[in-house]
């Protein structure tokens, strides 16, 4: 009797542990068994709602220690450090020294992709048959992700790039090109060129989590493509809504009234 109960306890513990472990896969672990999301009225997997990251990627996408005003954090780059070309690593380190004034965020300029995803502000996903819109609270930035369509011909230099989306199973896959070189990847000087090509994946892992991946390819800056991965958490507050962060106007007002 005790022997059987013992096995039962072990079985339940394994099953419970398995369920907890599988709900939010950490970087490097095997993919979770498929979660079946609800569908929108257009038949798409429903990713709608307000989402936000809960990590320190906004400050630094690599492993970093803390400093005044900056929490320590693990990197979100799969495989470790960023594979910079030698000249680019030197440039990144130079950026880092001057980051308080050199970071485009310090001038309230648009954050670009993928940085917009992990700014410490929420964003909302709205889906329709022809496009998926990301409404960011930060600077009320928007991304119109057009479905079933091609990138326009370049050369075009947009801060937020041109986004074209498609579904692969339950994952929204977004191909983004046509960038300026004016945005950074975080507050620590990590950067890209106008050759940046981002492929994002938004995969629902349960009703309140997405797994976000962004594959970065930039042959002018990095020696190879690399991928970042992080969870997105659905904001649960009953009265949750996006408010305003009119960054550039706060700056302008301070400048013009001093």
């Amino acid at each position: 009797m005790a022997h059987r109960a013992g096995w039962l306890v072990v079985l339940i513990a394994v099953a419970a542990g398995g369920v907890v472990a599988m709900s939010v896969p950490a970087a490097g672990q095997a993919a979770a068994p498929a979660f079946t999301p609800r569908r929108t009225w257009d038949g798409q997997p429903d990713l709608q709602g307000i989402w936000q990251t809960a990590n320190t990627a906004a400050w630094n996408i690599e492993d970093h220690h803390g400093e005044l005003g900056v929490p320590a954090g693990r990197g979100v780059v799969i495989g470790g450090d960023l594979p910079y070309q030698p000249w680019a690593l030197a440039r990144r380190n130079e950026h880092r020294v001057h980051r308080r004034t050199a970071d485009p965020e310090s001038k309230c300029l648009l954050p670009g992709v993928p940085r917009a995803t992990y700014m410490p502000f929420p964003f909302r996903i709205v889906q329709s048959a022809t496009q998926i819109t990301m409404f960011y609270e930060y600077a009320h930035a928007t991304r119109n992700i057009f479905l079933n369509s091609e990138h326009p011909k370049g050369p075009i230099e947009w801060w937020m790039g041109d986004s074209r989306g498609r579904w692969e199973g339950n994952s929204l896959v977004v191909d983004v090109v046509h960038f300026t070189d004016r945005t950074w990847l975080d507050r620590s000087g990590n950067f890209h060129s106008d050759a940046l090509h981002v492929v994002e994946r938004y995969t629902p892992t349960d009703a309140t989590h997405l797994m976000y991946e962004a594959r970065i390819e930039d042959p002018k800056v990095f020696t190879r493509p690399w991928t970042m991965r992080m969870p997105l958490y659905k904001r649960q507050e009953a009265n949750m809504e996006l408010l305003e962060y009119e960054c550039a106007l706060y700056l302008l007002e301070a400048e013009l009234t001093k």
């Binding site: 929108t40 009225w41 648009l110 305003e244 013009l256």
Partner: protein, 312 residues
């Protein structure tokens, strides 16, 4: 010279405007606004507002006002320059179609107009304020005629997406209360919607009073509230065809600035759907700050109404 440089910086230079239309003065009649819309609504036809799959009135798609050149909410009597023809008023319920300012507020507007320095009539003063739109700002209700709206809907929400300045509005439609503390003041205010039959009624509160109604210094305070009403209507056109438009109106309530509430009313027409592409307004405006400082324009931080008992 100062005027030309400033106008060029703000993109107003009329002689070689990019994207503006130079009208044939002989051929163009007064541009239609509210009076023409009221006349058109005399020929309304019955319509059933379509529903979204989840049963809310369906406003999805691209909608926009007709050509709005000067964006003056009051009537413009005569040509201001080759790109700015005379227009009707947006205002329907003051008898004269003018904004019903209290005397102190009318005086403020006159002062601000004199300081616009665009070389238009009445702008003879030294630079005072630039139209906040020059700083890539829009607001309620000015966003209505800024650019076409892409309206998306999800259950319980109407989302307005415009390209200009990558602005958007998120309007809950479940009739929830205005629950944000009045001390919280927003550029775009807080929008709260509810369905009234097939019409969307939107209450806008928590405004910061730093946005103008138009480029003519028409303003309100941070105590203003606004109530919009959106209704789809079908009207018969002169050629016998039907046209569906949004009958859009906004009532402005600001007893500290105006002598009465007043209402603007315009049609939003269906627009050919187009991809909304990036408008990185602030990013392209980096030189503006230098020009503003050089020419002595001051930040418009809103106007505080005088205390009610100012005579004491």
């Amino acid at each position: 010279m100062v005027v030309l440089v400033v106008a060029a910086l703000a993109g107003w230079l009329p002689a070689r405007p990019s994207g503006q239309i130079i009208y044939d003065r002989g051929a163009t009649v007064r541009q239609p606004r509210a009076p023409a819309w009221l006349r058109e609504k005399l020929n309304m036809r019955p319509m059933t507002t379509p529903r979204t799959p989840w049963g809310e009135p369906d406003f999805r798609g691209s909608w926009g006002t007709e050509e709005v050149t000067s964006d003056s909410i009051e009537r413009i009597e005569d040509w201001l320059d080759p790109a700015t023809p005379p227009t009707e008023t947006f205002i329907v319920d003051t008898v004269d179609g003018k904004v019903p300012y209290q005397p102190w507020a009318a005086a403020e507007r006159t002062k601000m107009r004199m300081g616009l320095s665009r070389g238009w009539p009445g702008e003879a003063g030294p630079p005072m304020h630039m139209d906040p739109q020059s700083y890539c700002v829009t607001g309620i209700p000015r966003i209505t005629w800024r650019d076409p709206w892409l309206v998306q809907q999800s259950p319980g929400y109407v989302h307005v997406n415009i390209g200009w300045g990558h602005y958007y509005r998120t309007i809950p439609t479940d009739g929830r209360r205005i629950d944000l503390d009045p001390s919280v003041k927003l550029w775009m205010g807080l929008s709260r919607g509810r369905w009234d039959g097939d019409s969307l009624v939107v209450e806008v509160s928590n405004l910061n009073g730093k946005v103008w109604f138009d480029s003519y210094a028409n303003f309100h305070s941070d105590r203003a509230t606004m109530t919009e009403r959106w209704t789809q209507v079908r009207t018969e056109q002169p050629d016998g065809t039907d046209r569906v438009s949004i009958d859009w109106s906004v009532r402005v309530d600001d007893p500290s600035v105006f002598t009465q509430p007043w209402t603007m009313n315009l049609p939003l027409r269906r627009k050919t759907p187009e991809e909304i592409w990036e408008h990185a307004c602030h990013e392209g405006n980096e030189r503006l700050l230098e020009g503003v400082k050089t020419h002595g324009f001051r930040w418009f931080g809103g106007i505080a109404p005088p205390p009610a008992d100012a005579t004491r």
